[in-house]
């Protein structure tokens, strides 16, 4: 009841909440993260436009690794299981998450898929997100690192157009590098300049899934990051 005069009118009460709207997703993501690092797994959230070459980079990674059994992948796709099937053919243990209409993966989808996915002995888990430069950036999945695949054919100013996605990236893979000699108007310096305006610590590795260029450097980066992430986890565990 009205506290001022007792008139009987209902009272309008402001209730302070001050919480993240995606707090529930973040809690599930934290749970996933604990499982990953506790099991010695470096989880990578691999994002990028449709056709940026995410699956192709993973295929090349599977082929270049001495022991592909230590790698697994969860591939998000709106409608098909094609990417997961391609990765299985490349020797990578893989599972598809078909999202239907959803334009991104969330922590719950990843969590549910892990319940039916054997990751025993896995050291690297790639979570290939739905091809999209907007929505996936908003959702924590429990990954240790975000990697964005940006193909050199996509336009030099892509990072400026999608700052949230690139701001959150720990590494940008500049894919389809073998096409560069055929693209006289693409200036790689302009791409790195655009990245430096949206990423406080820009890290870029140029790769070509077709020729294998840069794949060794990418694998070295993954290995070093896994060691760092597991050391950090043990310190805080």
């Amino acid at each position: 009841m009205c506290q001022d005069c007792g008139c009987g009118d209902p009272e309008v009460v402001p209730v302070k909440v001050q919480q993240k709207i995606l707090a529930r997703n973040d809690r599930t993501a934290a749970h996933n993260r604990e499982h990953f690092l506790g099991d010695g797994i470096l989880a990578i959230n691999l994002m990028g436009s449709p056709g940026a070459g995410k699956t192709a980079v993973l295929e090349a990674t599977g082929c270049a690794l001495p022991n592909p059994k230590k790698v697994a992948a969860i591939a998000g796709d709106l409608a098909t299981e094609n990417d997961a099937n391609r990765l299985i053919a490349a020797g990578i243990r893989s599972k598809a998450i078909t999202t239907g209409q959803a334009c991104h993966l969330d922590a719950e989808l990843v969590h549910r898929s892990l319940h039916h996915f054997d990751v025993d002995g896995v050291e690297l888990l790639f979570i290939e997100n739905v091809g999209n430069l907007v929505c996936p950036a908003v959702y924590d999945l429990g990954q240790a690192l975000n990697v964005v695949a940006l193909s050199i054919t996509e336009g030099e100013d892509k990072p400026l157009k999608y700052p949230t996605m690139f701001m959150k990236a720990d590494l940008v893979l500049l894919t389809k590098a073998d096409l560069l000699p055929h693209l006289p108007f693409v200036n790689v310096d302009a791409i790195t300049d655009a990245l430096a305006r949206v990423m406080p610590t820009p890290r870029v590795i140029s790769v070509s899934a077709r020729t294998g260029f840069g794949i060794e450097a990418w694998i070295r980066w993954l290995s070093a990051e896994r060691t760092k992430a597991l050391e950090k986890f043990e310190v805080y565990a």
């Binding site: 209902p10 309008v12 909440v17 991104h104 949230t164 300049d193």
Partner: protein, 121 residues
């Protein structure tokens, strides 16, 4: 368009906050959305107006406070403009984001029926 999924989470959060007062009517929901959050405020409003029917927010108005992006040098606190190279020109330190990534539920305003002794903060 992930704004529908954000609205789903928002309505769930409001519903959870209303557990103690199930008969209250939510009049206004105040949120903070950062310019670098990846959430489009117009789409969020459209999604809210589409989705609120048959939820605890059916009669609620969504009030969105936009938060501008702020980058600063973590060493000397010098502000670094959006769109500039994100490294302090003095200290060479990578810039740190201090505002602009918020996706926050701040406040719910509700009409509480006559319940003697009920006090909410």
């Amino acid at each position: 368009m992930h704004e529908y999924s954000i609205v789903q989470s928002l309505v769930d959060s409001v519903g959870a906050a209303m557990n103690a007062t199930p008969d209250a009517v939510v009049l206004r929901v105040r949120v903070e959305i950062g310019d670098l959050s990846g959430v489009d405020v117009d789409l969020l409003t459209t999604a809210f107006e589409t989705f609120r029917d048959d939820t605890c927010c059916a009669q609620a108005e969504l009030l969105i406070e936009r938060v501008s992006t702020q980058w600063v040098c973590p060493a000397c606190d010098r502000p670094i403009a959006s769109g500039a190279i994100l490294k302090c020109p003095d200290c060479n330190e990578p810039a740190r984001l201090t505002a602009g990534d918020e996706i926050l539920l701040r406040q719910i305003e509700m009409e509480v029926p006559d319940v003697p002794g009920l006090r909410l903060r």
